[in-house]
């Protein structure tokens, strides 16, 4: 790690914190995905509270505030909490969130009792054990980085090696069992991986803020990708980026590292939920507006075509009356049509230009094909059972079947006439 620290144009402590936060972000991002996708996002919440009695017991046993023994104690307590949670869930009487809540409250209460009990022995040494849970990025040492890096690499390697079985267990537990996979062992493995991430994270950003760090990367990645492999990679990248950005921002602003990392993460997650291409809230709103506008324009185009059929070119006012829409809507649609070069104006009166007439005919033809499909489509022998796109039946069915649809309709009409 030494070379990396020398490489960065930062002070020694700043480099250590930056590297630590990045490693933590990557680890939490990838491993958190397994909790979030199983709808156990708050598992991290319970695990990080469950660490408290572990820390206290480790202190009682070793009698020292040595970081690594405290971490081992925290890890054992986390594991016990996780196993208990699974046992509670398996009674099928309580939903997962209640199991998480019970473990969280029970273990944390135990931790408080142990810590206050310890305080009686007037052993001043134990003071500050509870701050372990609030995390202190500035307290990171180069040695910690090596351990964190090793844990990160090991857990990522485990995920890569067991990718397929993990994926099957994650998405279809019953199928995984039927296919002969050791489902329980795999679920335990996912939980153990999560414990690793939590124990690593508690020291750096603190227990509560760790909860967000496990969730944010997956929420972001899920907005951008649909395949598990890509979600995992993206979550790792997003987590690393959040960790690094947060560390740098906290150094330049002088604010505590953990909270700044969480705020950066929240901003990123919110941005992803709002803006992600194709899925984001803003994106969907824009598409909805566009679709509405197009529907409006098309319907005014058809109204105009109908009016032109019936009589002389109407004025905008007459068209409004005929279409039963508000004057504003009609004006907006006419503006759109004008811009597309589909209108020809005679003073107040509007007519369709050459391309406008063609567009209107194409539109009416498409609508007619859809009603023909609804009426006669059942007689077509199609290779699959897919429903055609209502706005463009011809393109979905192919020219041959579209022609056949018209023939069927003509035949039916002829029969009706006879």
């Amino acid at each position: 790690m030494g070379w990396l620290i020398d490489l960065l144009p930062l002070t020694y402590t700043e480099s250590v914190v930056l590297i630590g936060a990045t490693i933590l972000g990557v680890t939490a991002g990838v491993l958190g995905a397994f909790a979030v996708l199983r709808e156990r996002s708050l598992l991290g919440d319970a695990l990080s509270h469950a660490a408290l009695p572990g820390v206290a017991i480790a202190f009682i046993v070793t009698g020292a505030k040595d970081a690594s023994s405290l971490a081992v104690g925290a890890a054992i307590a986390c594991l016990a909490g996780a196993v208990l949670m699974v046992a509670i869930e398996r009674t099928r009487r309580l939903p997962p969130d209640a199991a998480i809540g019970v473990v969280l409250a029970g273990f944390f209460s135990l931790g408080i009792v142990l810590l206050t009990y310890l305080a009686n022995f007037n052993n001043a040494n134990q003071a500050g054990l509870d701050t372990y849970l609030f995390g202190q990025a500035a307290g990171l040492l180069e040695r910690d980085l090596v351990v964190m890096g090793a844990l990160c690499v090991a857990s990522l390697a485990a995920v890569t090696l067991a990718f397929k079985p993990l994926k099957v267990t994650l998405f279809d537990r019953d199928f995984a069992g039927a296919a002969g996979l050791p489902v329980r062992a795999l679920e335990l493995a996912m939980t153990v991986l999560l414990v690793v991430a939590v124990v690593v994270g508690i020291r750096t950003v603190g227990a509560i803020l760790m909860v967000a760090l496990l969730i944010v990367p997956t929420v972001v990645a899920r907005q951008l990708a649909h395949r598990l492999s890509r979600v995992l990679v993206l979550a790792g990248v997003a987590g690393g980026a959040v960790g690094a950005t947060g560390a740098l921002l906290s150094q330049s602003s002088g604010l505590p590292t953990g909270p700044v990392i969480v705020l950066v993460g929240f901003a990123l997650a919110t941005a992803a939920v709002l803006l992600a291409p194709g899925r984001g809230v803003a994106w969907r709103a824009r598409r909805l507006l566009r679709d509405r506008r197009r529907a409006l324009t098309e319907s005014v185009l058809v109204d105009l075509e109908t009016a032109l059929h019936a009589g002389p070119p109407p004025t905008a006012q007459e068209l409004t009356l005929a279409s039963g829409r508000s004057p504003r809507e009609v004006a907006k649609a006419l503006r759109d049509l004008d811009r597309a070069g589909m209108l020809a104006r005679d003073g107040e009166h509007v007519r369709l230009s050459e391309p406008g007439a063609a567009a209107a005919h194409a539109l009416l033809e498409r609508r007619r094909l859809w009603s023909l499909w609804l009426e006669h489509g059942w007689q077509l022998e199609l290779p699959d059972a897919r429903e055609p796109d209502p706005t463009d039946v011809r393109a979905s069915l192919g020219d041959d079947d579209a022609e056949r649809l018209v023939e069927l309709a003509d035949a039916a009409e002829a029969r009706g006439a006879r």
Binding site: A87, R93, I100, G101, V102, T116, F134, V211, F266
Partner: protein, 301 residues
């Protein structure tokens, strides 16, 4: 009134207030809402301190309530987008608000001894020392405050019993018969947030969260019916309050922690020994079944 009596009475009232709401939270899969709210109120408390320089109960409760509402609304907004599941929405929002609070303390109030565990979040051991005049009698402040909350919750649950029940077990049916599950869900979360915020100040966050979740979970192991479940929840809460106080005296440890521990012990007993759904009952049943199958197959196989 003796100090011990005040503490136990306060704890009994909190256990009642929480026990009335807890079963609905557990059954509706909203148990962790209480934990989320308990962390999310921190910036409100800090904001009140920074702006007005006070830690008096009323402004603190108002500031905390403001952020509890922000927390609930933000979680709802994420959920309403349909892009984030409810558990992930909770996990995104409350650590962020908590982080804001920590930054606030770090920047503005680090010299002011805002101590996360005790001063802000309350500590039940201090309840007897914070007194107020009520009808000319000096009484611990926490008792009327928490008592009022318990009464309001009781009124809410009694008045809306049918509505709460139907929206909890069958939201679709509730919708078609004219109850709005959304409205009741909002109301319940609001009641939980109010209970949590008001009680934090008197007894501390962790005890409130514990009493909202753990007794209800234990009662769920013991019964299938809603009314007995609510009564059992309150009763287990009372056991935790009294037993916890005793334990804390014996060990000379944190009272809130000991009450939580006794509640957890009650849950562990229920988990193991519940007559129908407990672990041991299930094991015995499986054993019986296995033996029956072996007997019936015996001669043939």
């Amino acid at each position: 009134m003796s100090d011990d009596l005040t503490i136990v009475l306060t704890a009994l009232l909190v256990a009642t207030a929480c026990g009335l709401l807890g079963p609905f939270l557990v059954l509706r899969r909203q148990a962790l809402m209480s934990d989320a709210v308990s962390h999310a109120v921190l910036p409100g408390i800090v904001l009140v301190f920074v702006l007005f320089g006070t830690r008096a109960p009323l402004p603190v409760i108002l500031g905390a309530a403001l952020f509890a509402v922000i927390c609930v609304l933000a979680i709802d907004a994420f959920r309403a987008s349909g892009l984030v599941r409810s558990d992930a929405a909770i996990g995104l929002v409350f650590p962020t608000l908590f982080a804001l609070g920590v930054i606030g303390i770090d920047s503005f109030a680090s010299g002011a001894h805002i101590d996360l565990d005790a001063t802000i979040y309350g500590e039940i051991a201090f309840a007897p020392f914070r007194t107020a005049e009520l009808f000319g009698v000096e009484i611990a402040r926490s008792i009327p405050i928490v008592g009022a909350v318990a009464l309001v919750n009781l009124a809410l649950v009694v008045a809306l019993w049918k509505e709460l029940k139907v929206t909890t077990f069958d939201p679709e049916f509730a919708r078609t018969s004219g109850f709005s599950p959304r409205l009741l869900s909002r109301l319940l979360v609001l009641a939980v947030a109010t209970t949590a915020v008001v009680s934090f100040e008197s007894v501390g966050a962790i005890l409130v969260v514990t009493l909202l979740i753990v007794p209800a979970a234990a009662a769920r192991m013991l019964t299938d019916r809603l009314a007995p479940m609510v009564l059992l929840t309150v009763a287990i809460g009372w056991v935790a309050a009294i037993g916890g106080h005793r334990t804390a005296l014996a060990l000379d440890a944190s009272i809130a922690g000991a009450m939580g521990l006794v509640a957890a012990a009650c849950f562990a007993l229920a988990l193991l020994l519940a007559p129908r759904y407990g672990v041991i009952a299930r094991l015995a049943q499986r054993q019986r079944q296995r033996r029956r199958v072996a007997r019936e197959l015996g001669p043939a196989g």
